[in-house]
Amino acid sequence: MQMLIGYGGVAVFLAILFVVLQRTRASADFSEYATAGRSFGPMFSAMAFVNTWLPGTIFIAFAGLAASAGAIGFYFVSYSILAVVLMFLLAQPVHEWGRRFDLRTQADLLGLRYGSTAVRVIAAVIGVIASFPWIVLGMQSLTLVFEYLSFGAVSASTAALIGIAVIVVRQWWTVRLGARGLVIGDFIQGVVAYLIGTLLILGLITWLVTNGHGFGEVDPAFFTLPGPGSADGPLFLFALVATGALGGWCWPDIFVRLFTSDSTHTIKRAAVMASPLLFVFGSALCLLAMAASTLPGVSDAPDQVWFITASVGGPLILTLAGLCVLAATMGNVGANLQALGAQIANDVVGVARGTRVEDARWGKVSVGALTLLAGAVAVATTDALASGMVALAQVSYQGIVQLAPTLFLGIFWRRGNAAAACAAMIVGFATACVLQLMYPIAIPVLGGLTSGVVALAVNFAVYVAVSYAAPAAPDERRRVAALFDSLHERSADLVDAKGQSR
């Protein structure tokens, strides 16, 4: 009976989602497939951003960190707010250039800004390589959901396969509908994961506090942060937050959300709407995990704190908790697959064929192939830790952050050029990979800085040095100046009804 409630709840949620998606119209061409026709308002844009930004593992690994180490777990809330501030600042250039030049992907924008196919392809390849392990891990992260919701009837290995199957089937609509289906799906999934999720968290905190698991019982060390003399190093927290805030916009799936909004104003409004949701949800989840750290079983398996705590409410509450994880995971994995598929079709296949991709079928084939490949790898590596998938994901995380100087300096600084971008990305990526293998957690002699942050400093220095040492040709400088100047002119003067630059 309990399993019927758990798996039945999942089936009902999926049925509602699939009915809504089934009624969504498909894309007419590749541009619409990749950007949803730049048609969504602030509410959908905000929820699409949040559902893409927060992976399902926010309830597992991130909550687990707060349950095992305390307040440092809040670091994801801090970097999320900073990422939203960056979203506000990126809104105008990214949306305006995207609309005027029909940009479909992050790599497309970089190709335009630097006038370089090499920059476009390198950025696309780094994005795909770095994101792939996270798609696989995302698919595997549903193991706990289907294990707990079976109430002991299904083993972990079977639950892993069920989770992968569910997430792969869900991608039928991602393949068919592209970005439009994702944004609509994100809205429904976001309501479940973060609005119902927040209510659930507040209810569980109330239960914990009134049942002898208040914050007074928590280990006092949980309320302090690493500083001078601490084991992690005084700069460890800085490195975590900086990597999250700057690296967030380097992920192709996050960045492409900026292209699905209908105006600059919408993106800014979406940022204002997303920030309180991220703040309240994230803070509440961390507080819950800290308070629940005194529950039996949590210290032995902190990653399961969400499920252990929800178990006190019985099968219905546990099912709701499982649905939150499922909804969050589906948003993140789907967004990743769609963005990477579009990027492969647009910036790798399109460039190799020497044509601008216009047929939505290229996107569908690319997203479909990527889904099947990720599903196969997920099945083959269900023990992610032993297979090295977790280590690979950690390396790739530090690697993708290396797009940040090329991305941010490219958008906010006119002087950067293609040579600087290529050199910085390659040197930064290589440095991050080598350092990450040598120092998987942090570099003690550098005060706890992580490999990605040290590589970022090298990357930034290379970018600035090459920009000054090898300036672009006068024609290219004029082209870039016109690109920046266009942001200060009336859009109606520059764009015709089809979005083509005049």
Binding site: S78, V85, L237, T264, H265, K268, H488, E489
Partner: protein
């Protein structure tokens, strides 16, 4: 774009950039986390709330500059 009074837009843009810089300094300046690290939860809650409020102010400034 560019339909507000240039002086008003410039002033708003400067305040927006200043608020963004303050947001980053509050969270990323290590000595601040060392000093306030003993009340870690309050530190995160207050800097997070400031970030949310600063975004509201940034949005208001941006919108009013556009309208003018």
């Amino acid at each position: 774009m560019g339909i507000g009074i240039p002086g008003t837009r410039r002033r708003s843009a400067r305040i927006i950039v200043a608020l963004a810089i303050i947001d980053f300094v509050l969270v990323l300046f290590p000595p601040l986390t060392w000093i306030l690290g003993h009340g870690a939860v309050w530190y995160f809650l207050l800097t997070g709330a400031f970030g949310v409020l600063s975004l509201v102010v940034m949005y208001r400034l941006d919108s009013s500059a556009e309208e003018k």
